[in-house]
């Protein structure tokens, strides 16, 4: 077992990196897309193995304490791998038309495959790092890896979106590095050996002797810096551009896990701040403010949105806000937030892929033109509409449940203003998005503009891609398996949920 634990965590990072290299050697676009599926399944097995070890034996701390996988990061790893599986499966169908039209050439496919696996490796590095420095390295690497994924289709708009993303997130992540330096400086009085000073476990162990003012300053930089990458308002302005310009399977990764990876870095920092400030809720308060702001800003922008992918992008801002808010509320809210993260990632990655396919058929993402989608593109249309309904919190789906628990936590802890603002934001999103969804689903097509839209090819193999994620959400909304609940509770305990 000892050999295994020292090997499995580096392997989790190394395997995607190796696959990224292999992609350069493959000689056909179809083969590369299939290799993505095979590769992600292999990584998924490894992740499952590692997660099972964490679940049964507790946190894995390996390689001179530099790498660690505890319940919190293991839970994130599970969500991540689900998102990547969805993205890989959708990509095969998504790019097949473009391969036929010779738009998705081998050269582009190689770049796509390598960057896709590369970003997986970088996100994995973020999750398995115990050292705040290497965690930062992974986070910056995700920015660099995913930048060119945005402009797989090289248009002026996608290049602009890519540049905005690259600059904003690089600056944001650089600000987070200032936070890490401040955190390192705070260990000065704790007497930790300076090479071990950035290890999270060491900092947690000697939280009492860290300098509280420096840690507070560090947390502000961390929240603003990583918050930029996570898409918390008001630092979210890169997000709708990047999400709407990237091809569907890439937007799925962006929205499904890239944002969560950045938020994870903030969550890692939270228990440290709380321990240093004596559990007064100082750090949680900051998260509540940013969370509420994100929900409200997103709500306003969703109302007037015309582009379906931009609407989904703003919905991601809303949901990241909800997760931050849930964690900020503490107690049961942390549990709800982590549960919400899983639901949102599954639902949003599926919705983005469907929106991408619908957009391919219509040639536009403008919701005023993509009407009557249930008839024109039955499978993807239904998936998109069902996804939007689940995202805004329609009752039997799991997102309703997690939002409801958050609301209950806020009311129970007598934070009526928070509860009211949360309800207002979610309500506005509900109405705004529902209006868009209804018009997309049933409003008849105007004029004869639709004559040139060939009916989307319906193949039965696409149906499970929609049905499986939706039924998972449906089941989770009605019944939660005991192991999952235990897993989430353990993960929540690390960031101050009920223990």
């Amino acid at each position: 077992m000892a050999i295994n634990t020292n090997l499995i965590l580096p392997l989790l990072v190394a395997l995607p990196v190796i696959f990224a290299g292999v992609c350069q050697l493959l000689s056909s676009a179809v083969v590369i897309l299939r290799f993505c599926v095979a590769g992600v399944v292999l990584v998924a097995f490894l992740v499952c193995w590692a997660v099972a070890m964490v679940f049964h034996n507790g946190a894995i701390i390996a390689d001179g304490k530099w790498l660690m996988l505890d319940s919190l990061s293991a839970y994130h790893a599970v969500v991540m791998i689900i998102v990547f599986v969805i993205s890989a499966l959708f990509a095969v169908g998504y790019f097949s038309d473009e391969i036929d039209k010779n738009e998705f050439t081998v050269k582009i496919a190689r770049r796509y495959g390598s960057l896709w696996f590369g970003s997986m490796g970088a996100m994995m590095l973020v999750l398995v790092s115990n050292n705040l420095g290497t965690m930062w390295i992974g986070m910056e690497a995700t920015t660099l890896m995913t930048a060119f994924l945005i402009c797989v289709h090289r248009t002026a708009a996608s290049l602009e979106a890519m540049w905005k993303y690259l600059m904003m997130c690089s600056v944001g992540v650089a600000a987070a590095f200032t936070g890490i330096l401040l955190a390192a400086a705070s260990t000065g009085s704790a007497g930790i050996n300076s090479t071990d000073a950035l290890l999270w476990t060491n900092m947690m162990a000697s939280a009492k002797s860290l300098d509280p003012i420096l840690i507070k300053a560090a947390f502000i930089f961390i929240v603003v810096g990583y918050g930029t990458k996570a898409g918390l308002a008001p630092m979210h302005s890169w997000l709708p551009d990047a999400h709407s310009q990237a091809p569907g399977p890439v937007s799925a990764i962006f929205s499904g896990f890239l944002l969560n990876a950045a938020l994870y870095c903030i969550l890692r920092f939270l228990p440290l701040v709380e321990a240093v400030t004596g559990n007064t809720g100082w750090g949680r308060g900051i998260l509540v403010v940013f969370g509420l702001l994100s929900i409200l800003v997103a709500a306003v922008f969703i109302l007037g949105q015309r582009d379906v992918k931009r609407m989904l992008a703003y919905s991601s801002v809303e949901h990241i806000g909800l997760i931050a808010l849930g964690v900020g509320l503490g107690g049961l809210g942390v549990f709800a937030a982590l549960f919400h993260m899983l639901n949102h990632s599954i639902c949003k990655s599926m919705s983005f892929c469907c929106a991408g396919r619908v957009g391919q058929v219509y040639g536009t993402h403008d919701m005023r033109k993509t009407t009557d989608i249930l008839r024109t593109v039955p499978v993807w249309g239904a998936g998109l509409i069902a996804g939007i309904l689940a995202l805004i919190g329609v009752a039997p789906f799991a997102i309703f449940l997690s939002e409801f628990i958050m609301l209950k936590t806020a009311v129970d802890s007598a934070k009526y203003w928070t509860a009211g603002l949360l309800l207002a934001g979610v309500g506005v999103v509900f109405i705004g998005a529902l209006r868009h969804a209804i018009s997309m689903a049933w409003r008849p097509v105007e004029g004869n503009g639709m004559a040139d839209v060939g009916a989307g090819k319906v193949s039965l193999s696409d149906v499970p891609l929609i049905v499986v994620p939706l039924s998972i959400l449906l089941v989770l909304g009605l019944w939660m398996p005991q192991p999952l609940a235990t897993f989430i509770i353990r993960a929540a305990a690390i960031i101050g949920g009920l223990s």
Binding site: T134, I137, T143, L144, R154, L159, W163, A174, A185, L198
Partner: protein
């Protein structure tokens, strides 16, 4: 020995102001290179922490990257694109200098308020670092050309690196190398991005010329 350190720090500030006031991109790259070189060599200025082989080696590598590799990548990008001057920045040059002075004052004020523990030889290091960070941000937000925004990013990184030198005694080698790698790739990626943007937009321009012809 503090005299040498302080003179370098003053030179860093002067470099920031020159960056804020010059419109020629090639000049900006050179000034940025000079600033990077000086920042990179800060750890081996006598009077600071004890010199070890490790510190010296890393300092030389960082100085080389900031002073030669990054500017080389940037000037190659500049040659390939057809922009040589920042003609209409969002924030004008006079205003930039004015904001630069204000941010310098703010940096000294902030330093006097924060009273951070300083591990470096000179007390001036922290305000200078703050001022470089703000200058970098100002360049990213106030300049229109992509090359200048990248220089702004590098100036901001210079500030953060200097700040790190001032308050952290020792960053693990692996982290330091990783950060350096990330920065290298960042500049590289930004360079390719600028190249592509130029090509795409030139392409659009020539298309328009074609349509106007007939």
């Amino acid at each position: 020995m503090n005299l040498l350190m302080d003179s370098i720090l003053v030179l860093l500030i002067i470099a920031s102001f020159m960056l804020l006031s010059s419109s020629r991109l090639s000049t900006c790259i050179k000034i940025g290179a000079l600033q990077g070189l000086m920042v990179g060599l800060l750890p081996i200025v006598p009077g600071g922490s004890a010199l070890t082989y490790r510190v010296t080696a890393i300092a030389v590598v960082i100085a080389g990257m900031k002073g030669f590799v990054f500017p080389y990548l940037l000037s190659r990008t500049l040659r390939e694109s057809n922009t040589f001057k920042e003609t209409s920045p969002y924030v004008g040059y006079t205003a930039s200098i004015f904001i630069g002075i204000l941010s310098l004052v703010a940096s000294f004020w902030l330093d006097s308020r924060l009273r951070l523990p300083v591990a470096a030889a000179s007390r001036l290091v922290i305000p200078v670092a703050f001022s470089m960070m703000m200058t970098g941000l100002l360049m990213i937000m106030g300049r229109r050309t992509a090359v200048n925004q990248v220089i702004g990013y590098l100036v901001m990184e210079n500030g953060i690196y200097t700040f790190g030198l001032a308050i952290v005694r020792d960053v693990p080698l692996l982290v330091e190398v990783g950060v350096l790698m990330d920065m290298f790739v960042a500049v590289f990626v930004m360079g390719i991005a600028i190249y592509r943007i130029n090509r795409e937009f030139d392409h659009i321009d020539s298309d328009q010329l074609n349509t106007l012809k007939g």
